[in-house]
Symmetry: C2
Subunit: 295 residues, 2 copies
């Protein structure tokens, strides 16, 4: 077998794409070097025949964005899109006659809201400059004049959980980034699932309880207009909070928590069933104490 | 303004792409009709100038897979990938000089495991034919012979939560699909977050408790080899369950639940802060009773 620089291997005088086996009877091709679309079409056709002969199942082709000129060739060969990130596109093909068992694409964004409560029953709140477009009158040319309106509202720190990031770490990170406050993660009080957050994707939002380890607020980001410790009762009494059920419930959870009459889910480090992939199991540990979760 | 069939509009003799405004000061172009790449390049350049002049921010281009020949043109114009589904690719561009505030791509797959317990303290279990490749010795030609091994293990029904699907509905659906049993959703006992489930994406797995509404098992899917009601203690005593912490914890949760000494999170229908986007808020309702969650 001869291996060429551009990721092509030659097998009995037939050039094939270099591929690695995945754990499910399929192959993964990670294209890295530029190739002319016609040359890619030829080597892809030969490779597909080879993999079919081998009894392979799913075929994955990862194309970095700089090899965008090969996307059309792959689609013409029968591949379809599986997922994409800013710098690459993953295409896939299923060789067997049977229905495919390919893993589904990621379907949910995950967000966190951090309730940081100090010993004086004060909660850490922010005013964020949020931008809402206020579309003007459409002109006869179809143009729209937009003016942007900044509204202020005292709210808890929130943010998005990054791919590969633990929920508890995301909550602590967001608080630190937005206010400079160091925290200890306590528990998840509740969470909410909703749909169509953007382009059909769903979302999960975790309401977390944290204990502050520092107290001097230092605003860290441009979009934050103000940050302060506010007495919990004062926050809860705000008209906007009172009339917005989701915010009202959040403050009720928080009040119940401070009265020690509410138990949420605590994180326990665990590995997966086959011993790999560390992660956290969140459960009601007041009702069920698990001795040393990890091996 | 003149509108052409292929989604191009003419504005003061300059052809532009037809776009709709999004809620964040950007525009969305949904390409539907075929166009030559060169024509697309020309109209895209003119459109970008127009949107920049208008003070637009994010520009989204949704290309169905049959318009794959336009992907390269968009990337050459500075667009990058945002996300993809089997039948389309979403590209994006950020016009302002400031850092982009575009929404992140979905980062998590969401799964459910369903503990269905009947009045006789029996739990609904399955044997699934799971396929693990057992790679043979690599030949001198780089070929690998694969043989597939089927292993059996009594497990609870599990599955993936579809985009746009409620967790509680996914749990009930999986049980119905796999065993024919109708159920009522009770609560979420615990959940686990882990990472790198495939291609860098993270996953959330919710362990749900359900009550059966019917009792005659009817296997529904090919990959299910057997299904039965098994006494909970017998299931918990299996060596594989005992030595696998995550399964052991699950059975402990289940035993605690049957002894009425464990409270998980119950779903409450709620709308989002601005009154739209229905969803479910999951919380410990034994500790905090929320009157009529929805307006």
């Amino acid at each position: 077998m001869q291996v060429f620089e551009n990721g092509v291997v030659e097998l009995e005088h037939v050039k094939l794409l270099e591929a690695t086996n995945d754990e499910h009877g399929g192959v993964i091709v990670e294209m890295e070097e530029p190739m002319a679309p016609q040359a890619f079409a030829t080597v892809l056709t030969a490779s597909m025949l080879h993999w079919k002969h081998q009894g392979k199942r799913g075929v994955w082709i990862k194309l970095p964005i700089n090899l965008v000129n090969l996307v059309e060739t792959a689609v013409k060969a029968g591949f379809w899109y599986h997922h994409a990130e800013p710098n690459y596109l993953m295409l896939v093909y299923w060789i067997p006659e049977t229905a495919n068992t390919l893993p589904a694409n990621a379907s949910h964004r995950v967000g966190v809201g951090a309730i940081v409560l100090n010993d004086k029953r004060e909660v850490l709140l922010l005013v964020v400059v949020e931008i809402f477009p206020d579309w003007g009158v459409s002109s006869s040319h179809g143009e729209k004049s937009g003016k942007f309106q900044a509204i202020g509202l005292w709210k808890i720190p929130t943010g998005i959980v990054d791919e590969g990031e633990d929920i508890l770490k995301a909550a602590m990170r967001e608080v630190k980034e937005e206010t400079g406050i160091d925290t200890e993660f306590l528990e998840i009080l509740a969470f909410r699932q909703s749909h169509k957050s953007f382009f059909g994707k769903s979302s999960l939002f975790f309401i977390c309880m944290l204990r502050p380890l520092s107290f001097d607020i230092q605003k860290q980001e441009q979009e934050i207009e103000a940050a302060q410790w506010m007495p919990l009762e004062e926050y809860a009494a705000q008209p906007f909070v009172q009339k917005t059920r989701l915010l009202k419930y959040t403050t009720e959870l928080c009040l119940a928590k401070t009265n020690k009459s509410y138990t949420g889910f605590l994180p326990h480090p665990t590995t997966s069933i086959f011993g790999n992939r560390p992660g956290y199991l969140y459960l009601n540990s007041q009702d069920l104490s698990l001795s040393n979760c990890d091996d």
